[in-house]
Subunit: 167 residues, 2 copies
DNA sequence: TTTAACTTTCAATAATTTTTGAAAGTTTAG
DNA sequence: CTAAACTTTCAAAAATTATTGAAAGTTAAA
């Protein structure tokens, strides 16, 4: 496997993985490209490398910036804008943890809390609904606590702590 | 909020959450419905409750069974098949952990391993590709180890261990 | 200013994913 | 066996999501 093959393979894999954690393919591919690029890239560069349109590139870059894992940057003597990604994998993991907690788990917790707090009318089905959503609430709370812990720690806490668990 | 509202709210929320971890809405909704139902349900029951077609119900039930979180069951004196979900949240978490590792992380690890093993031709961009994919490989390996640990433990290990972490 | 370089927006289009429903398949009672 | 009850399959249709590209918007050099 040469450089170009390896690069394409990485960008593709990262692209399809993205859809699984809720960001779309183009967005994940742009991130992948920037992540392995030693230099910041312009919009033209990205469009050309990934064969996607200007509009698509612009919109997805914006989302990556919203997520906080891509930054705008300027290059001396150049009029146009350049983009670079967060290069620290630990920081990347922390950002993802933070955003997933905020976007997914917390709204779910809110609903689960409301649902498991309905009045118990004594029927079997109501009891079951309350019981099961309460259990899910506990589980989701634990998951959320972990994500927030990960999100708030210094750079290598994740690996160190998780490694202890794995032993 | 009465029983019906709470139930709909739960099914909807669980349905949209599903799309985020890679299973589709109908599949997640069927799971939600079975999860809070005190009795096994027939295909008719599910179709009627969720307003989805017979074909859709059949296909999604099959997938849930493949995932290992829904079981076929029979009801005395009834010809047709009934379905019930795994009721233990810990077991549910373990199944999800196992399946996510198998379906997503392990294939990714394989690609990352290949990519970061390309020959270093000395160029800056090759060095960067190798370095960054190696870092991602470590991170993903750690995540995978955790998931497998979760997937292989007895019922309440997850909560207990995670709780230690959170303290 | 003005104008060229560049970016964003968004309606239209394309691609993908989900859903349907009816035909084919399977199972079991009689 | 046959027929009725039930389930699965899958091509077509619908719904959803992603992408394009050109017009509108912005910025900064001159």
């Amino acid at each position: 496997m040469n450089y170009q093959e390896a690069k394409d393979s990485f960008i593709n894999t990262w692209g399809s993985l993205g859809t699984l954690w809720g960001i779309n393919k183009a967005m994940a591919q742009i991130h992948a490209l920037l992540f392995i690029s030693p230099e910041p890239l312009s919009m033209e560069d990205i469009m050309e490398e990934l064969h996607i349109s200007r509009g698509n590139t612009s919109m997805n870059l914006r989302q990556l910036i919203d997520w906080g894992i891509v930054y705008k940057t300027s290059v001396a003597g150049e009029r146009k804008e350049f983009f670079k990604s967060e290069k620290d994998v630990q920081e990347l993991a922390r950002t993802v943890a933070r955003e997933r907690s905020r976007r997914e788990i917390q709204p779910t917790l809110k609903v689960l809390k409301d649902v498991c707090s309905i009045e118990d009318d004594g029927s079997v089905k109501t009891k079951e609904l309350i019981k099961k959503t309460k259990e899910l609430y506990e589980l989701a709370s634990t998951a959320d606590a972990i994500l927030n812990r990960i999100a708030s720690q210094e750079s290598n806490w994740v690996t160190k702590t998780l490694m202890k668990l794995v032993k």
